[in-house]
Symmetry: C2
Subunit: 166 residues, 2 copies
Amino acid sequence: MNVKDAVSAFNDYLQSQGLKLTRQRALITEVFFDPAKRADHPTVEELYLRVKGRDSTVGHATVYRTLKLLVDGKLATPNRIGEDLTRYEPEVPGEHHDHMVCAECGLIIEFEDAEIERLQEQVAARHGFALRDHSMNLVVAPRGDCARADCLKGAAGEARGAGAAR
Amino acid sequence: MNVKDAVSAFNDYLQSQGLKLTRQRALITEVFFDPAKRADHPTVEELYLRVKGRDSTVGHATVYRTLKLLVDGKLATPNRIGEDLTRYEPEVPGEHHDHMVCAECGLIIEFEDAEIERLQEQVAARHGFALRDHSMNLVVAPRGDCARADCLKGAAGEARGAGAAR
DNA sequence: CTATATGCAAAACGTTTGCATCCCT
DNA sequence: AGGGATGCAAACGTTTTGCATATAG
């Protein structure tokens, strides 16, 4: 999903709700879906600062409010990966992935595993429920040294969709 | 792990750190490990209120500070199951489980699945990491009506109906 | 035009911390 | 006795909200 599609999808959502695509909302969405930053999971503050860099008049509240709308419109997902801050990640409709965070350097790796998801549904079913959503975060440690920049040393990119550093 | 063992284990930890087992710390630990409440995952506020019921002089800060010590001592685990609040759960050394939360009523069910855990290790290994820890939360919905006797639907205050609205 | 959105600053929330006092060991 | 520990309230950082003004459609 490129920037233009994201803004367009957001606009569709806004219109369906009788809301408006303002200059600020478009800008925030553009910055959030900026291809150069797609791998990270910004906090509201980080996103606010990036937005501010392009338009210093945008206020804190607008970023919070817009992020909430993006979540409602399924274009963003809040994620509490670490411990404290809420991070948001750009969402590509239809795709799903979980996270792996390196305990040494904090690198966040995305992955998906169909087999695990199948088992999750089984577990829910076993308790009489239907699986509606899930979150899974693995805390991992490198085997050997952690070289920060490329913590995935030796990680021959197998498991597809593992959009780690690139 | 019963109440007495928990307090004792906490005391061991405290002594190892040159800290003291005070009346308040013992009380908070007792309340936290109260068998009648072992299934739930109290927020700091909930625990504070329960403690306050037994000794109204205990302050907010002490509960926060003690909970942090319990976490350091591996007797408690912070868990962000729903969306907002941090919930703490009594930890039994050697045991592990994940959570399933009902989107309708907020009921939290604990489960463990060896197969999923095995796959998690595989995923980590596939990326060149060793699995150190993980958290997994399933958001589920009852099939049809929630017929569970322990369905918390309508139970204000406790476990807020996670997720749902999206 | 009118409903919605904005920016600001203040409020609200959970959590932490400084400090004078208190209490374990 | 003395180094923790406590309770209180003030401080904190994040997120929300009230309000007067600005703007999209």
